[in-house]
Every structure is written in C-alpha cells, then in structure tokens.
Symmetry: C2
Subunit: 206 residues, 2 copies
C-alpha cells in the first residue's frame, strides 16, 4: 500500500498492529476518524493511554481493577475459600454473567505455552500456589479452555498443589444446552457420557 501522507501511513501502521486488524481495515478505521470531529480521536487516544498507564490488577486475584482489591475479592459475602482459575478478565465476566458462582477467582493472565515462550513464571501461577500453601483455599476449580495449552496449565498447577490436599475440580464439559446431539463433536459427546450426572441434579438449575 502506498500512501500519499506520512501521517496517514503512520496511523494505519500503528492501527494494523492490533490483532485481526489488517492494513485495509486499519485504513477504513483511520479514514472514519478523519471524518469525525477531532474530539473523537482525542478521546480514543486518551482513553487508551490512560488505561495502559494507570491500569491496576487486584492484589488478590490479579483481575483488572481500579481499586487495590477488586469488587469480587472485597465482597465479604463471597466464599474466598472457593477459587476459580481462569485465563483472563473475559472469563471472569462470562462466569459472573451466569450469576451461578459465589466464590473468588484467580486470573492467570494466559496459559502455559512453551511454543510462545510463556512459562508458569510469566503467569500468576506462583501466587496461586502460595495461596494454596497458606491454607486459604478449600477448593480450586479449573476453568481454562480445553485446549492443549489449557490442559498443560491445569496439569502443571495440579502437580504444584497436589501436596497440600485441597479439593480440585474442573468445570463440566458436555453438550451445550439447546444443542442437538447429532451435531456435537465426538470428544465432547464422549466426555458428556463419561461424566454423566444423576438425573435429579439436572433438575436443580435450568
């Protein structure tokens, strides 16, 4: 792509550094900003810099938070002995949306992935292990995505905390509510039969 303006080219190049944004999309977004009042570009730019500079992570669960402790960790009515291990804030938001969970979280900030050079030390794994060691966790729920990296991470953490004898569980994998059996993939369907639950339990939450 050849640009008639260095300013435009810079903006497009920076924009296309974002994941999933190619040069064409970046140009479309940048031209849109050009048609809008200056204030919009300033507000966008300001909000990004302000966020990046001042962002804070909860001292307990490492979730993004504007306060030292996030709202969830600061809430005395939530069970702090029950800890759900997730990858990032999006998973926290998704689980919170269900209104089915009243425990705490532990946000890892990623998954162990030797291919991408991400080891346990790059994540918040050590602080999770410390928490377990200190005896402040009764049950740990693994809620990472079930990919190879997710399974590796689960297993690594499991091995680290094994000596401390706490309950470890993992979220149920199975057929989505409302999905037709015939379209489910074999692995999921297989797991859902293997880990079947008493029929009466299925009546509790609908």
């Amino acid at each position: 792509m050849e640009f008639s303006s260095k300013l435009l080219e810079n903006a497009v190049n920076e924009m296309s550094q974002l994941p999933g944004i190619g040069k064409r999309t970046a140009l479309r977004l940048v031209l849109h900003l050009l048609k809008q009042p200056k204030e919009q570009s300033q507000k966008l730019a300001g909000s990004l810099v302000k966020m990046r500079e001042n962002i804070n992570f909860c001292a307990n669960c490492h979730n993004i938070s504007d306060t030292k402790l996030c709202e969830i960790c600061a809430n005395p009515r939530r069970d702090e002995q029950l800890v759900c291990v997730v990858e990032d804030i999006r998973d926290v938001m998704a689980i919170e949306n269900t209104s089915q969970y009243r425990g705490h979280y532990h946000v890892l900030g990623g998954k162990i992935s030797p291919m991408d050079g991400i080891g346990p030390g790059d994540l918040t794994v050590p602080s999770l292990v410390e928490k377990v060691k200190a005896g402040s966790v009764r049950e740990l729920i693994f809620a990472l995505s079930s990919t190879m990296e997710g399974d590796t991470t689960n297993f690594y953490i499991y091995k680290q905390i094994e000596p401390y004898n706490i309950t470890t569980t993992t979220i149920a994998r199975g057929i989505s509510v409302g999905d037709e059996l015939e379209y489910a993939d074999e692995v999921t369907l297989g797991r859902s039969i293997l880990h079947r639950i008493p029929f009466e339990s299925s009546l509790k939450n609908s």
Copy 2:
C-alpha cells in the same frame, strides 16, 4: 457488559465507536494492548491524534497529503486536464495501483446521500464545478461506486457541468477479468453486452 474497571470500560467504549468494532472485539483489542509494552499504546494514540490534528488536504484535488499540493497534482508529467472523480483516498490508491492512469483526481470525500444528510455542499462538489467553469478540465471521468448514491452524485455533478461542454465519461462496468460468466449478476452482464467494445481494443492492455 459489566466491567471491573472504569479505565478499561472507557477504553472499550471508545474503541467500539469505530465502525465494525463491537464491544467484544474492542475488549479483545484493548486486552491485547494491555499485554504489550506501554510504548505501543502511546505510539498508537500519538499517531491517531497527530494525524487527526495535522492532516492536510491537497489544495487542488482534496486528496489527503502532507504537502500543499499532493504528489500527483504536483507532478508536471500528469495530464491536469483529465480529471477522475472519486469518493475517497482508497479509490485513488486503487486506481494508482493499476498504473493505467496518468491524469489528475478530484476527491469528493463522500457521495450525495439525502438519507444520511449529506448534500453536495458537504462534499467538494462546488470546487469541482469551479474547476470546470474555469476551463481547466478537458475530460471528467466518473469513477464512483455504482450504487444509488453514486449514481445520484454522478448525475448531480453532470447536470452542474453540462453547460460547459466538456467530455464526460464513466469507468467501464463489466465482468471482472478472470470471472466466469455464469456467476455474474444480470445487471453487470447486461451492461457488459450493451457497452461492448471492439475486439481489437481488448487486445491492447492485458
């Protein structure tokens, strides 16, 4: 979407003002920036603000340019009497890419669209009419997209410059090179038969 951080929420809200970027995508982009060094957010923000504040439009063709006259208008080897009317800089870039055009451009900055409240005065139509009036155009090539708004804009300009007796042409519509006839839409195929050209001419450029 409920956010645990006002800073994060602001950034996501601003990002999702961009066309085609929903809240989920905005969150993904913003979380990506959080994982990158601060410099990346600063450079992105800086490039957007700098572009929006200092952007300049060519005094002659209204294309985005860092100089008073854009490179095309400043090039003495290009035919300034031949003017191609386009919507925005993306069309200029696309036509320049073909290396088939040696004239000037006139960038309208949009199309006439009463539905969106865009009239000829919001575009650079008046300055184009002035240019024709001053006798500095021999041929005007309409190269707007063939939508209702494009056709309306073409026709409006055509009516304005009709008294000045210059040549007006429009880019050829037809079957794309390499496309199969059976998959072409009827309107395009119909036009391509109606506006057929001598076979010898088709041999000139390939």
